[in-house]
C-alpha cells in the first residue's frame, strides 16, 4: 500500500511530503518530496548588496532566525576581513543561546504532541513565550529578528536586560524539572522512543548529520567546540553526547542542551565587558574577490554559509548548507522497517524546519 503523508499533515511540521510504501503497519520504503517552500533565496541574494541579504536569512530556519543572521554575517565578515568588537561578540552569544532555548522548546512541545502528550506542547510554549518576550525587548521582533549586523549588532542591550535573563534562567531550571516529570520519567514515553529509529555512528558520519542528531549517535560534533566562533572558547560548557542513536538519545541531547545554554548565558552575563557594539563600515561594502565560508552551530546542527565574491558590491554566489536538509536525507534509512506510528517519533526527533530545507 502506498500512502501519501503530507504535504498537508499535522506531523510533518511544514510542507514536507513523504511517499511511504507500507506492508500493513510496517514501512517498506520512504521517499521524501521537498521543495514546496522553495523561494530561490540563494539566487535572490546574488542580486543584492551583501548586507541587504540579512533579512532573507530570517526566513530560512524561522525557529532560530538569529542563528541564521549570525551565519551570514560571519561569512561576510570573513570575506571582508571585518573585526567585531568584544561586547558585540558577547551579546551575540547571549542571543544565540536564548534562541537555542526557544527553538528546543518548540521541538519539545511538538514532539510531545506528535506522541500524543498534548500537555507538553502548552507547557513548552509557556516558557518559549518568556524567551520571546526577552528577545522582543532586545530586538523588537518575536520571530524574524534581523538583529545581527556585519561587524557587530545594531544596538546595545536594553537596560536591566541582564537581570531579566537571569531571573528567567532561575525559573527555567525549575521548569526543566517539570518537563522531566512529565516526559522523561514517563514509562510510555520511554517505550515509544527507546530503541526506535536507531542511527548508527557510521551512517551518521557518512550522511553528514550534524547537531543533536549526530551527537545522539556518538559523534562529538559541535561547531562551538570543534571550531569556536565569537567567545564560545571563553565560556565553559559540556557537549552532551550519547551512543545509542535512537529517538530517546536525540531527545536527551536537546534536554541537556537546554541546561548547558543556561550555563553559557549566566557566564556570558557575568563576563560581558563594556564597549562599542559595532564596527564602522563604508556605505558601499566591497569585499575582495575570493571564497569564504562560515560555520555556526544552529539549534538544528551545522549551519554553513559559503560566499563567492568577485570584488563587486553583490555576491557572485551564496550557498546555504542547511542542517535540516542534510539531516532529512538520512530519513529513508531511519524509516526502513519502522512502524507507521514510529514515523512521527523519528521525524519529530530529527526536528526539521522546512524553511531551510527548501530555501
Amino acid at each position: 500500500m502506498v500512502i501519501n503523508v503530507g504535504p498537508q499533515h499535522p506531523s510533518t511540521h511544514g510542507v514536507l511530503r513523504l511517499i511511504l510504501t507500507l506492508d500493513g503497519e510496517q514501512i517498506v520504503a520512504c521517499e521524501p518530496v521537498i521543495g514546496y517552500l522553495h523561494r530561490g533565496l540563494e539566487k535572490m541574494m546574488e542580486r543584492r548588496p551583501y548586507r541587504h541579504n540579512i533579512p532573507f536569512t530570517d526566513r530560512l530556519d524561522y525557529l532560530a532566525a538569529l542563528s541564521n543572521n549570525l551565519g551570514i554575517c560571519q561569512c561576510i565578515e570573513r570575506l571582508g576581513g571585518v573585526e567585531v568588537p568584544e561586547r558585540a561578540q558577547y551579546i551575540r552569544v547571549l542571543l544565540m543561546e536564548l534562541q537555542r532555548i526557544a527553538s528546543h522548546l518548540v521541538f519539545l512541545g511538538t514532539f510531545g504532541t506528535d506522541l500524543g502528550a498534548t500537555t507538553m506542547f502548552l507547557y513548552a510554549f509557556r516558557e518559549r513565550e518568556m524567551v520571546l518576550d526577552l528577545l522582543e525587548e532586545c530586538t523588537g521582533a518575536r520571530l524574524t529578528y534581523n538583529w545581527v549586523r556585519v561587524g557587530g549588532v545594531p544596538d546595545d542591550l536594553p537596560e536591566g536586560f541582564g537581570q531579566k535573563v537571569l531571573d528567567f534562567a532561575k525559573l527555567f531550571r525549575q521548569r526543566i524539572e517539570e518537563y522531566d516529570m512529565l516526559l522523561t520519567r514517563n514509562r510510555i514515553f520511554r517505550s515509544r522512543t527507546q530503541g526506535v529509529g536507531v542511527l548508527p555512528k557510521e551512517t551518521a558520519l557518512a550522511y553528514g548529520c550534524s547537531g543533536p542528531v549526530a551527537r545522539a549517535s556518538g559523534i562529538p560534533y559541535d561547531i562551538r567546540k570543534v571550531a569556536p566562533y565569537e567567545v564560545y572558547d571563553r565560556v565553559e560548557f559540556d557537549v552532551p553526547v550519547f551512543e545509542d542513536g535512537d529517538v530517546w538519545a536525540r531527545y536527551l541531547v536537546r534536554m541537556e542542551e537546554l541546561r548547558q545554554s543556561l550555563r553559557i548565558i549566566e557566564q556570558v552575563l557575568r563576563d560581558m565587558p563594556d564597549g562599542p557594539v559595532q564596527t564602522k563600515l563604508p556605505k558601499i561594502f566591497k569585499p575582495p574577490a575570493g571564497i569564504a565560508y562560515s560555520r555556526v552551530e544552529s539549534p538544528r546542527g551545522e549551519l554553513s554559509f559559503m560566499m563567492v565574491s568577485d570584488g563587486s558590491p553583490n555576491p557572485v554566489r551564496v550557498h546555504i548548507r542547511a542542517p535540516s536538509f542534510v539531516n532529512l536525507s538520512v530519513l529513508p534509512r531511519l524509516l526502513e522497517g519502522a512502524k507507521v506510528a514510529d514515523l512521527v517519533a523519528i521525524l519529530g526527533s530529527i526536528d526539521v524546519v522546512l524553511g531551510e530545507i527548501d530555501r
Binding site: 503497519e25 502528550a117 500537555t119 502548552l122 507547557y123 512529565l182 510510555i188 515509544r192 507507521v340
Partner: protein, 328 residues
C-alpha cells in the same frame, strides 16, 4: 397529574417504551454537551490555560454552539465512498450507545428496560460500536481511515476480552446478571470495590475502559498526529457529530456502568440516589480526563501485547478467584 399520565401510558406498554426510548435518545444527545464542556475545562486546568470562556457564563454554551455549527455544515460524502455503509456507520455507533443506556438504572426504579440479563445485553450491543468504526474506516475510501479502522478493531476486540472477564467476575461474585440486582446486592453488602477480587477486576476494567473509549494512552484509532483522526477523517457535519456524540456518551456510559458494577450505583447517604449516580460518574470522568491529558500515546503492537500478555491472564485468574470466593 403525573400519576394520570403514567396511568395512561401504562395501558399502552409499547407506547410507553417508545416514549422512554425517545427520552433516552435525547439524553444521549445532550449528555455529550455536558461531558465535552467538562473535558475542555479540565483540559484547560491541566494544561494551565483557561478553556472556553466567552459563549455563556464561563463558556458553558460553547459546546452547544459547536453542535449547532455541526448541524448547519454541509454533509460531504467523498467520491468513491461506499455510500450505504458510509451513511449507516454513525447511526449504528449512536444506536449502540442508546441501547446501552436503555438498561442502565440511574436510581431505584429509574430504568427504561428492566432486564434480568442486562450485563450480557450491554456487552453484546456495545460491540456494535466496533462494527460501526470498521464500517466508517472501510467505506471512506481513505487509506488513513482504513488504517484507523483496522487499528480500532484490533484494539477494541483485544480489550473487550479482559473487560468482559472482569465484568464476569462481578457477576459471579454477586450472583446476578441484572444491573439492578448487582446494585441491590451492594446496598446490602457494601460496595464491590472493597472486596479483593473485585478490586483487581475494577482496575482491569478501568484500563480496558480507557481503551474502549479510545482515550490516550490508547487513542490510536484516531491518533491525531499520525492518522489525522483516523476512521472519522472523511466525516463532516451531522454525521461527524453523531460519532462525536456517541463517543462522549460512551464515555459517560462506561463510567456509569463502572459505578453500577463497583461503586454501588445510586447507593450513598443523605443525597438523593440520582445525585449519587451522577456524582460518581463525574468523579470517574475527571479521572479519565486526567489520564488522557497526561501521558503520551502507545504504539499498536505495544497495546496489543499489553492486552494479551498481561491483562487477559490476570483477568482470567481473577475470574477464578472471584468464582471461588463468590460461591456460597
Amino acid at each position: 397529574m403525573i400519576e394520570a399520565i403514567t396511568q395512561f401510558f401504562k395501558q399502552y406498554p409499547l407506547l410507553w417504551t417508545f416514549v422512554k426510548a425517545v427520552v433516552l435518545a435525547s439524553f444521549t444527545l445532550v449528555i455529550p454537551l455536558a461531558v465535552i464542556y467538562v473535558e475542555r475545562k479540565i483540559a484547560g486546568f491541566i494544561q494551565s490555560r483557561l478553556g472556553p470562556l466567552h459563549v455563556g457564563p464561563q463558556g458553558a454554551f460553547q459546546t452547544a454552539a459547536d453542535a449547532l455549527k455541526l448541524l448547519l455544515k454541509e454533509d460531504i460524502v467523498p467520491e468513491g465512498a461506499d455510500k450505504r455503509f458510509f451513511y449507516l456507520a454513525p447511526y449504528i455507533a449512536f444506536i449502540s450507545t442508546v441501547l446501552c443506556f436503555m438498561v442502565l438504572p440511574f436510581a431505584p426504579g429509574w430504568v427504561a428496560l428492566e432486564m434480568n440479563v442486562a450485563v450480557l445485553f450491554i456487552i453484546g450491543v456495545s460491540l456494535f460500536n466496533v462494527v460501526s468504526i470498521l464500517m466508517a474506516g472501510w467505506s471512506s475510501n481513505n487509506k488513513y481511515s482504513l488504517l484507523g479502522g483496522l487499528r480500532a478493531v484490533a484494539q477494541l476486540l483485544s480489550y473487550e476480552i479482559p473487560m468482559v472477564l472482569s465484568v464476569l467476575a462481578v457477576v459471579f461474585y454477586t450472583g446476578s446478571l441484572s444491573l439492578t440486582g448487582i446494585i441491590e446486592y451492594q446496598v446490602k453488602h457494601g460496595w464491590n470495590i472493597w472486596h479483593p477480587p473485585i478490586m483487581i477486576a475494577a482496575l482491569i476494567y478501568f484500563i480496558c475502559a480507557l481503551a474502549e473509549i479510545n482515550r490516550t494512552p490508547f487513542d490510536l484509532p484516531e491518533a491525531e498526529s499520525e492518522l489525522v483522526s483516523g476512521f472519522n477523517t472523511e466525516y463532516s457535519g451531522m454525521r461527524f457529530a453523531f460519532f462525536f456524540a456517541s463517543e462522549f456518551a460512551n464515555n459517560f456510559f462506561i463510567t456509569a456502568f463502572a459505578a453500577a458494577l463497583f461503586f454501588g450505583g445510586w447507593d450513598g447517604p443523605v443525597l438523593p440516589p440520582i445525585v449519587w449516580t451522577f456524582l460518581k460518574v463525574f468523579v470517574m470522568i475527571f479521572v479519565f480526563m486526567w489520564v488522557r491529558w497526561t501521558p503520551p500515546r502507545l504504539r499498536i503492537d505495544q497495546i496489543l501485547r499489553f492486552a494479551w500478555q498481561l491483562l487477559v491472564p490476570i483477568s482470567l485468574a481473577n475470574l477464578l478467584f472471584a468464582i471461588a470466593l463468590g460461591v456460597r
